[in-house]
C-alpha cells in the first residue's frame, strides 16, 4: 500500500487541515513511512479475536435522565474567538 500525492491531499481535506500543494509529496512520504511500520500488524493471526472495546471490563453507568447542569451561556462563550449576542459567530454557512 503506497500513498500518493492525491491520497495525501484527500486525507488532509478529510482532516480539515490545509496543506499547500508543494508540501504534499513530503507528507505522502511520511505517511508511507508510518504506514510501512504499521504493516507489521498483518503478520499477526487475529482469526476469531474480538476487537478490544475497553481495557477493563466495565458497563457504562446509568443515571436518571434529568438536567444536571446548564444555564452557563457566559462561561461557555467566554473563550470564543467571535461571540455575538449570546451566540458563536462563524462565516456564512448557507447562501
Amino acid at each position: 500500500m503506497s500513498i500518493d500525492k492525491d491520497t495525501a491531499a484527500r486525507v488532509a481535506k478529510l482532516a480539515r487541515i490545509k496543506v499547500e500543494e508543494d508540501a504534499l509529496p513530503a507528507l505522502a512520504q511520511e505517511f508511507n513511512t508510518i504506514l510501512g511500520f504499521i504493516e507489521q500488524l498483518n503478520e499477526v493471526d487475529v482469526e476469531g479475536v474480538e476487537p478490544m472495546t475497553s481495557v477493563t471490563p466495565m458497563r457504562l453507568k446509568r443515571r436518571e435522565d434529568v438536567v444536571t447542569d446548564g444555564d452557563q451561556q457566559e462561561a461557555i462563550l467566554a473563550n470564543a474567538p467571535d461571540a455575538r449576542e449570546g451566540f458563536f459567530a462563524v462565516p456564512k454557512v448557507v447562501e
Binding site: R16, E39, P51, F88
Partner: protein
C-alpha cells in the same frame, strides 16, 4: 538548613505538621527556584498569586489541626490539565489564550487535599512526543548534562516540563499524563519516579484528551513514597468521567513495607531488544539481582505480542486523536485564522487547524483520519484493536500464572540531545516508548524508578508493571527496588 525546594513531599509534609516550616516559606522557595530557572523552560505559566493564596490557606488549615494529605505542598501542573482561569494550552498554538472556566477533577482533588499550584508546565503539543520538542513554548531542557558537556538534553516527553521541574527542584512534585509512556520515559530520563495508574483510576475529566482509551494522569515525584502519597490524592471515582472506576482508593503509603518476600517478578524475554545498549541490559540484570536479594522470586516469562505494541499504538492513538482533536475548529475556543474575503466555514476550519497545530500533531491527526477512513477501517483500525486484545491477553496470562509484577527497562537509552533526532524519520522517535506503550494498551499500572547512571553520568530507570488496580502492591515493590538501588545522583546546577 536544606533548601526547602529540594525537599520530598513526605519530608515537607512532616515538617509542616511539626510546624518547623510554613507552606508560604516552602512556596516562596519554589517560586524563587522556578523564577531563576528560565533556561530549563519547564514552567510556561507562573501563578505566584494563586500559589501564595493557596499556601496561606494551607497554613491556616494546618494551624487548625486540619492537614489533609497534600496540605501546603507546592506542585507544578502539566499544561494538559485544565485549571480555572489559568492558561491551559496543551502546549499548542491552537489553544492560544484559552482559559478554562472549570477545574479538572485531578487538580481539584489535589487542591481539596491542600496542594499549592506554582504554575503550568511545558510538554509536547497535545502530549504527542517523546522529547518535549513539539511544544509551542519551545523545548523544555533537562537539568542533567553529559559530564562536562554543555549540550542541551531532552527531559523526555511528553511530560518533559514536569520531569525537568521535579529533577531541578523547582517544585516538590508535579502532575503528568501518560498515553504511551509520557510519565515513565521522562521520569527515567531525569532520575525521578513516575507512575501511571491503572486505566480508570484517575478521572480524565478536564484533561485535554489525546487518546481517550490510553490517557491516564499520574504523579512525578522525587521518591516512591511521594508517588504513593500524591497518587492517592489524585485518584478516585468521578461521575463526570464514565470510564472512571468506582472503586475505593487504598491508603497507598501504608502499603509501603518494603517486604517483597515470595513475590514473583516476571522478566519478559521479548524485552531484550536487538541493539539495546549493554548498559541497559546491565541495569536490568542489576534490578533482577536487587529484587532477588530482597526475597522475590525471579521468573522468566513470555509476552509474545510485544513487538506489535508500537504499530498497534500508532494506529489506535492517532485514530482517537483524530477524533478528539476535531473539536479544535476555531469556533468555541482558542485560535481562529484570519480569513480572506470570500472564505467560508470550510476555509476557516482548514486554515485555523493548519496554523494552530504543529507538524507532529498534524501528522498524527492525518494518519488517524486515514486509518479510520472508508475502506481502511477494518484493515488498520479493527486489526489494531484485535492485536491490542492479544497484547492484553499476554499480560493476563502472566498474571494468571501467578506473576505479581513485571520488571523491564524503562527506556532503550539514556536521554538524548535536543535536536539529535531531527533528521530521523518519525518512527525512530516512536521507538522511545517501546517498553512503556504495552502498559497503556493493556490498561495496567506501571512505574519508573531511577536505579543507575550511564557512562556519561545520566540517569537510567527500570519499569515495574503491576496487576490491574494493585498500585499499592506495585508501589511496594518499587519501594523495595528504590531502597536497594539507593539512587542519589542529582544534576549539578548550571541554569
Amino acid at each position: 538548613m536544606t533548601d526547602l525546594n529540594t525537599l520530598t513531599l513526605s519530608d515537607a509534609r512532616d515538617k509542616l505538621r511539626r510546624k518547623d516550616v510554613t507552606s508560604v516559606e516552602l512556596t516562596e522557595a519554589c517560586l524563587k527556584a522556578a523564577e531563576g530557572a528560565g533556561a530549563l523552560n519547564a514552567f510556561v505559566h507562573h501563578t505566584p498569586d494563586i500559589a501564595l493564596a493557596q499556601a496561606k490557606a494551607a497554613d491556616a488549615r494546618i494551624a487548625k489541626g486540619d492537614a489533609p494529605a497534600m496540605c501546603g505542598l507546592p506542585l507544578g501542573i502539566k499544561d494538559l490539565f485544565c485549571t480555572k482561569d489559568v492558561p491551559s494550552q496543551a502546549a499548542s498554538g491552537i489553544l492560544e489564550g484559552f482559559k478554562p472556566q472549570y477545574e479538572s477533577t485531578v487538580t481539584q482533588n489535589l487542591f481539596d487535599a491542600g496542594a499549592v499550584m506554582l504554575g503550568k508546565l511545558n510538554m509536547d503539543e497535545f502530549a504527542m512526543g517523546s522529547s518535549n520538542e513539539t511544544s509551542v513554548y519551545g523545548n523544555a531542557v533537562s537539568p542533567w548534562r553529559r559530564g562536562d558537556e554543555e549540550t542541551a538534553l531532552t527531559p523526555g516527553g511528553s511530560s518533559g516540563g514536569s520531569a525537568s521541574a521535579v529533577a531541578a527542584d523547582l517544585c516538590l512534585a508535579a502532575t503528568g499524563t501518560d498515553t504511551g509512556g509520557s510519565i515513565r520515559q521522562p521520569a527515567a530520563f531525569t532520575g525521578i519516579v513516575g507512575i501511571k495508574p491503572t486505566y480508570g483510576r484517575c478521572s480524565r475529566w478536564g484533561i485535554v484528551a489525546f487518546a481517550s482509551s490510553l490517557d491516564q494522569a499520574g504523579p512525578m515525584t522525587k521518591s516512591v513514597r511521594d508517588a504513593a502519597i500524591m497518587l492517592e490524592a489524585m485518584c478516585g471515582h468521578d461521575p463526570k468521567d464514565s470510564t472512571s472506576a468506582d472503586l475505593a482508593v487504598p491508603n497507598f503509603e501504608a502499603m509501603l513495607t518494603g517486604d517483597i518476600k515470595g513475590k514473583k517478578i516476571g522478566i519478559p524475554r521479548e524485552y531484550h531488544m536487538d541493539g539495546m545498549p549493554d548498559e541497559i541490559e546491565a541495569l536490568w540484570a542489576e534490578g533482577r539481582a536487587m529484587l532477588k536479594a530482597a526475597g522475590a522470586e525471579i521468573v522468566d516469562i513470555s509476552l509474545p505480542h510485544t513487538k506489535y505494541a508500537l504499530p498497534t499504538y500508532y494506529v489506535i492513538a492517532p485514530a482517537e486523536a483524530s477524533s478528539n482533536l476535531a473539536r479544535y475548529d476555531g469556533v468555541r475556543f482558542g485560535h481562529r485564522a484570519t480569513l480572506a474575503a470570500g472564505d467560508g466555514i470550510t476555509e476557516m476550519y482548514e486554515k485555523t487547524r493548519a496554523e494552530g497545530f504543529g507538524d507532529e500533531v498534524k501528522r498524527r491527526v492525518m494518519v488517524g483520519t486515514y486509518v479510520l477512513s472508508a475502506g481502511f477501517y477494518d484493515a488498520y483500525y479493527n486489526r489494531a484493536r484485535k492485536v491490542r486484545a492479544l497484547i492484553k491477553k499476554d499480560f493476563d496470562d502472566a498474571f494468571t500464572a501467578g506473576i505479581d509484577a513485571i520488571l523491564t527497562p524503562a527506556t532503550p537509552s539514556a536521554a538524548f540531545g535536543l535536536g539529535e533526532m531531527n533528521d530521523e524519520d518519525p518512527v525512530k522517535m516512536y521507538l522511545n516508548d517501546v517498553f512503556t506503550v504495552t502498559v497503556n494498551l493493556a490498561g495496567l499500572p506501571g512505574i519508573s524508578v531511577p536505579t543507575g547512571v550511564d557512562h556519561q553520568g545520566l540517569p537510567l530507570g527500570l519499569q515495574l508493571i503491576g496487576r490491574p488496580w494493585e498500585e499499592g502492591d506495585l508501589l511496594n515493590t518499587a519501594y523495595a527496588l528504590e531502597a536497594a538501588a539507593g539512587f542519589v545522583a542529582k544534576p549539578g546546577k548550571w541554569w
